[in-house]
């Protein structure tokens, strides 16, 4: 892990103990606590599981057991651009798996993984409820409907352009200063 992300995570872990104190020591709060951890870190780090277990007086294995039961909780850090491909029924009928395969090939990772530079992560989701726009892919929160292999290419081109523009902007700011 690069040092910047590592330092940031260590600082968050330090703050986690105070945030945990806001939750009553009641087992019914376990899912809410896990959700809070995931919101803080964007995934569930191992140390946080120990802290949650300690707070609720549960065995860490018990907490880990609950966390792994639910699909929502991730144990890998997400990419800067998290990509989700819907494989609900409507999207399946309209070729959602072809879209997923296109992303996998383009990024050279499998579904559920993150690229080594932590730029992109890829996952499949059950149904995002936009069946009318099938097949659907999400980049971050943005829904992209009527996906096609050519649109996958287009998405990456757009992200690349945005990235370059942001970098140029940053450089311009720096040189102005």
């Amino acid at each position: 892990m690069d040092s910047e992300a590592g330092r940031e995570e260590a600082a968050l872990l330090n703050r986690l103990r105070t945030r945990l104190a806001d939750f009553e020591k009641d087992r019914a709060n376990l899912l809410s606590i896990l959700r809070m951890i995931q919101e803080t870190f964007s995934y569930i780090p191992e140390e946080a599981i120990y802290m949650a277990a300690d707070h609720l007086d549960l065995a860490p294995s018990e907490v880990y057991g609950v966390a792994t039961f639910y699909n929502q909780f991730k144990f890998n850090p997400p990419g800067k651009y998290p990509i989700k491909v819907c494989l609900g029924t409507a999207c399946h009928v309209k070729g959602g798996d072809i879209i997923l395969e296109n992303f996998e090939r383009k990024l050279d990772i499998r579904e559920g993984e993150t690229t080594p530079d932590r730029d992109f992560s890829l996952e499949r989701v059950a149904c995002v409820g936009c069946c009318a726009l099938a097949p659907v892919a999400l980049v971050g929160e943005a829904v992209h409907g009527h996906m096609a292999p050519s649109k996958v290419e287009g998405l990456f081109t757009r992200i690349q352009v945005e990235k370059e523009m942001a970098e140029r902007e940053k450089r311009r700011h720096e040189s102005a200063r």
């Binding site: 087992r27 039961f69 290419e153």
Partner: protein, 615 residues
């Protein structure tokens, strides 16, 4: 604000309705459901508000963001009230035109009206569009008409009158009696009579009881509950208040899918507003009854839609089902008597209290009363949310309301009840929407997901898809479901990959029977349904995959040759232009050839070819 009385409710209703129906103030109802948000309805709404402001019309026209209108495929949608004009697929640029030509000029803008796919005619009024005209909105009576974030809008549509009647004028026995008379059966899928469920819980001893609302809508292709919560959250709250009175509970929980952020947000606002008006909290309507509702977010586990699993999940445990009895009506959440009702069921309760059980039962069939909300999707023209009376033939649901199959393709089958359900082929399309009738043809009513499939859908692949979903979501507690669904999936994958053997058909049937018999909960017991129903109606496709190594619908890539049929190819070049891998060799007016070295078997060319020339 002080505690509301029935007089207050009436006053709010009168004032709000007077404004809504005032000829001086047009209401511009913009759909703000998840589907329309995704197609850009927020930007359209902002543009409309700005346009009206720029032209100084903002005191003559009011823009209202409503919940899901239902016709999701046509979003963003604008309905002009009271004219009833229905505009679809609006853009921010279109807004100017609509304001100028219609709202000021009084002439409808043809370009953004609905076009009937069969008659090719434009239809201006929402009520004249077949998608709407065949429906009977009861559960969805407020959809697209009220601002879901306004409690006054809900009260104007007789909101909280049912709760008032139940809390002040009725005894728990009378409430239960009315529910029984309505014939209402659980809309979550199993169809257990709601009145009976309440009766059990009400007679169950104990001072602490719970009312739960199941908003963990997990079936792929189903979005009824989400739309109800987004469009009319107060109806669900009111239903829960009435249920609480019936069984004497003081605490309710709504278990909502975390994937539905908009529904959760609107629920939170609704709960907040109901509390401010004293409709939740202590001494509601001065009746002496206290009732609180909290939202509990799920964390993405399909099995948590099962009642005992859902309760474990609220307790902060792994959401695994347990054997019944004891039933939740006796020992549910934290081992206390509990009732769990689906969103759609609860949304109907207030109207049953206001209009009576007999009114509710006046439509429907012998054993299935009232109306049912369906989410229609897949290969169908009018994708969206519809509500039809029980007893409607499936054919009407798909071809009249749903508008039939797009393109020139033929209907093949319809999947009812999601992964727990089954498919219904053409020959059984005259089956009526009725719990028992649908079960007879091998499907289930389910929660209301209707997935229409045209002739290009491979039924073996469809069964494989559902089994993939189920084995992933199986909680792993009981062996038949955990191991059985995995083996079913492997067998189906083998068949789709072209390695199927004749004995696989027997294996599928035998395994399915065992899983059905021996699984612990509803998820496992219904898991083999997609396999069984496709075997029942489309065995020839299985046989083609296994014996002839062919996929008749041209879906299973392993069974395709990726060659061009030179007799059928017209040299149009559609495949050449579509191929993402540059694997099609084609020159103008010449027939296409696929370079197998480059081909990635993505099937894009198969989709684009209009002449069925790919093998």
């Amino acid at each position: 604000m002080a505690r509301l009385t029935i007089e207050d409710l009436k006053k709010i209703k009168e004032e709000n309705l007077a404004e809504f129906n005032s000829p001086e103030l047009k209401h511009l109802l913009i759909c703000g459901g998840t589907g329309c948000h995704a197609t850009g309805s927020i930007a359209v709404k902002d543009a409309l508000v700005q346009e009206l402001k720029d032209r100084g019309l903002d005191d003559k026209m009011k823009v209202v963001e409503t919940g899901c209108n239902g016709f999701c495929a046509m979003g963003p949608i604008l309905v002009v009230h009271p004219d009833g004009t229905f505009y679809q697929k609006l853009t921010t640029e279109a807004v100017k035109k609509v304001v100028e030509e219609d709202l000021i000029g009084g002439k409808t803008v043809e370009k953004f009206l609905y076009k009937d796919p069969s008659t090719k005619k434009k239809i201006a009024h929402q009520d004249d569009i077949p998608f709407f005209s065949y429906q009977m909105p009861r559960t969805l009576r407020n959809k697209g008409l009220i601002d879901p974030e306004s409690i006054d809008d809900y009260i104007a549509r007789d909101g909280y009158q049912g709760a008032y009647k139940a809390l002040i004028q009725m005894t728990p026995e009378q409430i239960i009696q009315e529910m029984k008379a309505s014939g209402m059966r659980g809309r979550g899928g199993a169809g257990f009579p709601t009145g009976l469920k309440w009766d059990f819980a009400s007679k169950s001893p104990g001072s602490v009881k719970y009312v739960l609302c199941n908003a963990d809508e997990g079936d792929p292709g189903a979005f009824m509950d989400r739309s109800i919560l987004e469009a009319d959250p107060h109806a669900v709250l009111e239903g829960m208040i009435i249920a609480a009175k019936a069984i004497n509970a003081n605490q309710g929980y709504i278990y909502a899918r975390t994937e539905y952020p908009l529904a959760i947000k609107r629920l939170e606002i609704a709960i907040q507003k109901a509390k401010e008006r004293g409709l939740l909290g202590e001494n509601i309507f001065d009746s002496g009854m206290n009732f609180e509702i909290d939202i509990y977010q799920g964390a993405g586990a399909f099995v948590c839609g099962e009642e005992t699993a859902l309760m474990r999940s609220i307790e902060g445990k792994r959401g695994m089902p347990r054997p019944r009895p004891p039933f939740p009506a006796h020992a549910g959440l934290w081992e206390k008597p509990t009732i769990l009702n689906n969103v759609e069921t609860l949304a109907n309760v207030p109207q049953i209290m206001v209009n009576g059980g007999a009114w509710y039962a006046s439509v429907g069939t012998e054993s299935s009363k009232g109306t049912k909300v369906f989410a229609i999707s897949g290969d169908v023209n009018n994708i969206g949310l519809v509500e039809v009376p029980m007893g409607t033939p499936l054919r009407d649901l798909i071809f009249a309301t749903g508008g039939g199959i797009p393109g020139k393709k033929k209907f093949k089958a319809v999947q009812l009840g999601g992964p727990s359900g089954g498919c219904v082929p053409e020959e059984h399309l005259d089956t009526l929407v009725d719990y028992e009738e649908i079960a007879k043809v091998g499907a289930i009513m389910g929660s209301g997901g209707v997935i229409v499939m045209d002739e290009s859908t491979c039924m073996v692949d469809m069964a494989r898809f559902f089994m993939d979903f189920i084995q992933e979501e199986s909680c792993g507690k009981c062996t038949p479901c955990r191991e059985g669904t995995k083996r079913l999936l492997e067998t189906l994958e083998k068949i789709c990959d072209g390695h199927g053997e004749p004995r696989d058909l027997e294996i599928l049937e035998e395994l399915s029977a065992t899983i059905k018999e021996a699984s612990l909960c509803g998820l496992g017991q219904t898991a083999p349904n997609p396999v069984l129903s496709t075997l029942r109606y489309f065995k020839d496709e299985y046989i083609a995959h296994i014996y002839d190594k062919e996929c008749p619908a041209k879906t299973c890539a392993a069974l395709l040759r990726f060659e061009v049929d030179m007799d059928k190819c017209t040299g149009c070049g559609a495949c050449f232009r579509a191929c993402p891998a540059d694997a099609v060799i084609w020159k103008k007016k010449e027939k296409a050839v696929i370079d197998k070295e480059k081909c990635v078997q993505c099937l894009t060319c198969f989709e684009k070819c209009k002449f069925d020339a790919l093998l």
